[in-house]
Symmetry: C2
Subunit: 386 residues, 2 copies
C-alpha cells in the first residue's frame, strides 16, 4: 500500500426528507446565498420552490445563477464569480447534478481569487487556499462531486475540458434525497451508472496489487452498482435501488477507493477531449472509450483483468488462462454497457471517424496506471472506438 | 437504505515516515501538549524518543500521562483531566492502541466539562459540545478509534465498561505508520484482527437487507482482513500485509460501513461485561462470544448467514439450504478463530463457568439487530461459551 493522506470533511445528509435540514445547515453562514442550478428541470419538479421556501425560512437573501449546462462552461463560471463579488455572496448552494456542482466549485474558488480562475487554477494548477463555502443538493448521482473537492469545467472556445481540485472545495454539506433522482430520464440514469463504474475502473486498474483493501472495496462497488442499476432499470421508482445507486455514486469518487493506489484516469482524459469538441454526455463518452482502453492495456493489466472477470462478472475461471479471462472481462463490460443501452462507438454519439487524429492530439497525456499512454496509444484506442 | 447523517473529519496520514509530519500537524494548536501513552512499550521500541524529539522540534511544552492500561480505567481519565486543567493543556497527543486513544478522548471530553465525566457523559449520555483537540499515533490496529468519535472506558470498582461517543471527539489527525505495529506480539495481532472482524459483524448482521452497498463493503473488509491476517501470521514483518491490515482496522469502524444499516453491537455489550469483571483482552472476549451470538440468532439471521458463508468463507452453496449454509458460516467463523489461535471458551481466558449468571445480569441490553436480546438470551449465549 502506498503512502497517502486522506481527509474528507463533507457532511452527508442522506434519505427521505433530508432537504428540510437545509435551514439548519445554513445557520452558521452569512445572509447572501448564490443559488446555482441548471436548465430548468428543478422548476418543473417543484424542487426550486422547495429550496426557495427553505432559504426564505432561513432568512437568507437569495441571488440566482440558473442555466448551468452539462459540460459546464467557463462563461457561466465568470458570470457566477461576478455575482459573488458584486453581491458579497457568503455561501453558494448548488442544486443539481455534477455539472451544477462543478461550476459552483469553480465559482467558489474563483470568487476569492484575484487572478483569472481558468488560466491560473485550471491551466497552471495554482492551489487556492480559500474558497467561498459551498453546499449541494444532489439530483443526479454520477460524478461524486457532492463529496469530493474536484470540479471539471470546459473552455468551449478552446475545446478544452479540464479538472481542478483542492481541499478548500469540499462541500460543507451535501443533501442526498433519493426521491429527487427519480425524475431523471432513463438515459441519464444509465450514463450516471457508467460514470460511477468508470470512476471505480480508474482506481482499480492501477498498481499496486498487493492484496490491498481498496481493490476489494472497488469490487464491492462495481457489483453493487450493477445490482442496483439493473433493479432501477426494471423499475425507475424502486426507492431502495435508487437510494443504493445514489450512495454508490458518492462512494465511487469520494477519494476512499484510491487510498494506497496509483490510479489511472486516462479514460477520463480521452473522454474530456470528446466532450470538449462534441459536447456529448460524460457517461456516454466513457462507455465508448473505457472498454477499449482496457483492451489496449490488456497485457499490462492481464492479471487484474482476470481477477475482474471472476469477481465482478462471475466468469468461471476453471480451465481458462489469465489472458482468456482478461478478454472475457473486457467483453463482459462491453456487453453490459450494450445491455443497459449505453453507446459503443463514436458514431453512436455523432462523432465522425475522421475526428480521431484531432481528438488524440488534444487529449492531455498523464501517463499513469499499468501502462502510460502516449499520443499514438490514445489514437489506437480512438480508432478502436470508431 | 435507512436515512443517515455522516461526517468524519479526521485527517489520516498513512505510511512510511508519516510521523515526521507531526510538527506540521500540531502547528496551529497551542504550546501545551498532554502526551498520553501506555505501559512502556513505546520506550522500548524507541517511539517515545522519536515523538519527544518531534514535539521539541515543534516548540511544544510536553506534559506526560503514562500508564494507560488495556481496558482503560476511569482513574487514569480523572488523572488526565486534572493535568489538562492545571497545566492549561491545548492539545492531547495519544500514542498507542485503542485503550490509549479511548482514554485520551475521555480526557478530552472531561477536561472542558464542568461536571463528572463518568456520571454525566458515560452513564447519563450527555453530549459534550466541545472537547480538547486530540491527535493520535497508532501502534496497534484493532479498535478503529483513530478515525471515530467513540471511547470505551471502565469503572473498575463498579465492574462497568462503557462506550461513549460524540462528534467533538473525532481525532483532528491520526498518524498510521505500519512499521510501528510490527513490534506487537502475535497474540495482539490476532486479537486486533478479531476485533476488526467483530466490528464488521456488528454492522453487517442487521437489517435492512435491500441490496445495500454497506453489506458488499463489509464482505470486502472481512475477506481482506482474513487475507492480510493470514499473510501477517506467516511473516509478522510483511510490510504489505501489515499495512493492509492496519488500514482494515480503521475502515472497519470509521462509521462508513454502518451507513443505511440498523447495526447490532450486542456482542460488544456482552464482551464489555466479560472485560469489566475479568480484564480480558477485548478481542479475546469477542472471539469467544460472537460466534455463539450468531448461533443464537441463526433463525432470524438465516439468509444473511447463508450469504456470509458463501461470500466470506467461499462455501459452495450447491445443494445446501439456507439453514445448512448459515450453520456452515458460523462453523467457519469458529474454525477460523481457532486456526489463528483465538480463545473459544470462557475457561480459555480463566473465567469460571459459574460466572455466567453475574455476567448476564450486568450485560447492558440494547435490543438491536435481527433479534433483540433479553437477559435470558445473553445467558444462553454465555452458557454456550463455557
Amino acid at each position: 500500500m502506498r503512502n497517502f493522506v486522506f481527509q474528507n470533511p463533507t457532511k452527508i445528509l442522506f434519505g427521505e426528507g433530508m432537504l428540510e435540514e437545509l435551514p439548519q445547515e445554513l445557520e452558521s453562514y452569512g445572509k447572501n446565498i448564490l443559488f446555482v442550478y441548471g436548465t430548468g428541470s428543478i422548476k418543473k419538479t417543484g424542487l426550486y420552490d422547495r429550496v426557495m421556501t427553505l432559504l426564505k425560512k432561513a432568512g437568507k437573501q437569495v441571488f440566482e445563477l440558473p442555466g448551468v449546462m452539462p459540460n459546464p462552461r467557463t462563461g457561466k463560471v465568470y458570470e457566477g464569480i461576478d455575482i459573488c463579488r458584486q453581491e458579497s455572496i457568503d455561501f453558494i448552494l448548488a442544486v443539481g447534478g455534477g455539472s451544477v456542482i462543478d461550476a459552483s466549485k469553480a465559482i467558489a474558488a474563483g470568487a476569492l481569487y484575484e487572478g483569472d480562475f481558468w488560466q491560473d487554477l485550471y491551466l497552471d494548477g495554482h492551489e487556492v487556499e480559500e474558497a467561498l463555502p459551498l453546499g449541494t443538493v444532489l439530483t443526479m448521482p454520477a460524478t461524486g462531486s457532492e463529496m469530493n473537492c474536484g470540479a471539471v469545467v470546459s473552455d468551449w472556445e478552446g475545446n478544452d475540458k479540464r479538472g481542478y481540485g483542492c481541499p478548500s472545495l469540499y462541500p460543507r454539506f451535501s443533501i442526498l434525497e433519493p426521491r429527487l433522482t427519480m425524475t431523471m430520464p432513463k438515459e441519464q440514469v444509465v450514463y450516471g451508472a457508467v460514470d460511477m463504474l468508470s470512476h471505480v475502473f480508474e482506481q482499480y486498474f492501477s498498481p499496486p496489487d498487493d492484496g490491498n483493501l481498496s481493490d476489494d472495496l472497488s469490487e464491492a462497488l462495481m457489483r453493487n452498482i450493477r445490482l442496483n442499476l439493473d433493479r432501477s432499470l426494471e423499475d425507475l421508482l424502486d426507492y431502495e435501488a435508487r437510494s443504493n445507486l445514489m450512495w454508490c455514486g458518492t462512494m465511487a469518487l469520494n477519494n476512499l477507493l484510491r487510498l494506497g493506489k496509483e490510479q489511472d484516469w486516462q479514460s477520463h482524459q480521452i473522454e474530456h477531449a470528446l466532450s470538449a469538441w462534441y459536447d456529448i454526455p460524460h457517461g456516454a463518452g466513457l462507455a465508448i472509450v473505457h472498454p477499449n482502453l482496457l483492451y489496449h492495456i490488456r497485457k499490462e493489466a492481464e492479471s487484474k483483468l482476470a481477477r475482474f472477470a471472476v469477481r465482478v462478472w462471475d466468469i468461471d475461471p476453471s480451465g481458462k488462462t489469465d489472458e482468456e479471462l482478461a478478454l472475457l472481462g473486457i467483453r463482459a463490460t462491453r456487453d453490459y454497457f450494450n445491455q443497459i443501452g449505453a453507446p459503443e462507438t463514436l458514431s453512436d454519439v455523432g462523432i465522425p471517424a475522421d475526428a480521431v487524429e484531432k481528438l488524440a492530439d488534444t487529449t492531455q497525456l498523464i501517463r499513469a496506471g499499468y501502462r502510460a499512454l502516449e499520443r499514438d496509444d490514445v489514437l489506437a484506442i480512438l480508432k478502436r472506438s470508431i
